[in-house]
């Protein structure tokens, strides 16, 4: 995944922020533990979010221990020590998703290709292990990512392009809900579907310039017929449109989120969905140029 699902820090309580950090560092440790030190590089906000969702659904309360950061041994960090199974599962998703992302980069043009060629052989072993640990997850990821390549080669419109990624998250979350017709499972699918859709559109809007330059596939470019000669107004109009789609997606996401009973991390999860995602939209769609 792409690191867009993060909390809005200014409105988190200090203890909530520390709790979040504890999960983030816990995931890093568990990535190393289950899939080798290199897989720690796949650590992302998105899979941290997935870990918290899993823990909350399984009614696991986090226990924190003190330790040192592996990347920077001088830095102290507290990390979550329990809920191994949730961390293991999130670590596997992190590895599987990254491998697909690398394979995707290999097909696209641009700088990512060189990096992908270097990293992909190194990640094969971790990928194999993750596949063996969670065959159901591998099945969902493989099926939907194959469908993703398919719709992108066909050059379909945005809804069709976003659908496989949306379905992937929908199905992965639905897996926690038991029988597919149960209220929990239906709500989780809806939640995952719109989260995946949001991430896909966000990613396309964020990569607009980069993809235009490198000529990689981007559904927003395809749909609008944007060319390198396009002026600021054309970019702005695409961003406005993407923002409206993201808002609409988020309204469905929020509706599903409200129907769930979150036992742990309720306030942090709420912060991420209600404030973090809109803040990401604002930052990446309307503030990027000002920075540059």
């Amino acid at each position: 995944m792409f690191g867009y699902i993060r909390p809005f820090k200014p409105e988190l309580l200090v203890r909530e922020w520390e709790s979040y950090r504890g999960i983030y560092c816990g995931l890093c440790k568990n990535l190393g533990r289950y899939y080798g030190w290199l897989s720690r590089l796949t650590l992302s906000y998105d899979c941290t979010f997935y870990t918290m969702i899993l823990m909350s659904l399984r009614k696991e309360k986090p226990c924190y221990g003190a330790g040192h950061c592996v990347v920077n041994p001088l830095k102290k960090c507290s990390f979550c020590q329990n809920a191994e199974e949730s961390f293991h599962q999130a670590a596997a998703l992190s590895v599987l998703m990254t491998c697909f992302k690398l394979e995707d980069d290999l097909r696209d043009r641009g700088k990512g290709k060189i990096r992908a060629r270097l990293l992909l052989p190194l990640s094969r072993r971790a990928q194999k292990r993750a596949k063996a640990d969670f065959p159901w997850m591998d099945k969902i990821v493989t099926e939907t990512m194959t469908a993703q390549n398919q719709v992108e080669t066909e050059g379909q419109k945005m809804d069709a392009c976003a659908s496989p990624t949306a379905q992937m998250l929908g199905k992965i979350l639905q897996h926690e809900g038991g029988e597919s017709s149960s209220p929990l499972s239906r709500t989780l699918y809806e939640f995952g579907y719109f989260l995946g859709r949001w991430v896909y559109i966000m990613d396309a809007a964020d990569d607009l310039e980069k993809d235009l330059e490198s000529g990689s596939f981007n559904c927003l470019i395809r749909e609008s017929g944007l060319t390198q000669k396009a002026g600021k107004e054309e970019f702005d109009s695409i961003r406005q449109k993407a923002n409206a789609s993201l808002n609409l997606t988020l309204s469905r996401l929020l509706a599903a989120f409200s129907l769930m009973d979150w036992t742990s991390f309720q306030s942090i999860l709420q912060n991420i969905i209600e404030k973090g995602l809109p803040a990401t939209q604002k930052e990446l769609l309307f503030r990027k140029e000002e920075k540059e």
Partner: protein, 215 residues
């Protein structure tokens, strides 16, 4: 039965005012407008029913104790038939009943079989409804828009279009770049917009928020 206080998320020692606030917040959260056309609308309406029952139970308990003041709420005002009800003179009765019973792919199959020249405003509205349920939100917007263009007088199509435009504008969460407050969704702005939209809507004979009427 589950503890009604727990359903409302308040302690039994809460004041009447606190309970009323908690109830209003929950009722706003699970309001049928937020779930119109969504495949999990039934779950939201169950939740709404649960909250209404809990509120009524708490009211009754307090009244018996003699401490309660008459605090009105949404009561049973919400009947569960929002928006996409059956229209009279529908040429797609079968599609409508499939949609109502959640058989989306059956509905879509019939719609897709309709030849181009027979695709009227209702066809675009129903196809939009199906797309919306499936999560194909951009196409849904286009279809609702087309339905409204073809039959601007139809309130059913206009309600769906208004709803989706409000969602796009960030009224139900998200980011609105034209809002001065920044930082995304703010209750105040959304509420103001909603009131304004409701007034506009009422001028034309509709009601955007039928249940936000305090007794």
């Amino acid at each position: 039965m589950t503890d009604p206080y727990q359903v409302l998320g308040v302690s039994p020692s809460a004041t009447d005012e606190e309970i009323k606030t908690a109830y209003h917040n929950l009722a706003k959260k699970y309001h049928p407008d937020n779930y119109a056309g969504s495949p999990i609308a039934d779950l939201a309406s169950e939740k709404m029913k649960e909250i209404n029952e809990a509120y009524d139970a708490v009211q009754a308990q307090r009244k018996n104790r003699g401490s309660g003041q008459q605090a009105g709420g949404y009561g049973g005002a919400y009947g569960g038939t929002y928006g996409y009800g059956g229209a009279q003179n529908s040429s797609f009765g079968d599609v409508r009943s499939y949609i109502m019973s959640g058989r989306i792919s059956d509905a879509e199959q019939i719609l897709d079989g309709v030849p181009g020249e027979n695709r009227n405003a209702e066809w675009y509205f129903l196809k939009g409804t199906v797309l919306y349920k499936r999560g194909w939100l951009d196409e849904a917007t286009n279809h609702f828009n087309r339905a409204v263009q073809m039959d601007p007088q139809n309130m059913e199509y206009r309600t769906a279009m208004n709803q989706i435009m409000n969602q796009r504008s960030g009224m139900y969460g998200g980011y609105n770049p034209n809002m001065t407050t920044g930082g995304g969704f703010t209750g105040c702005g959304a509420c103001g917009d909603l009131m304004a939209a409701d007034m506009c809507c009422e001028c034309m004979g509709g009601n955007l928020c039928p249940c936000i009427g305090f007794r």
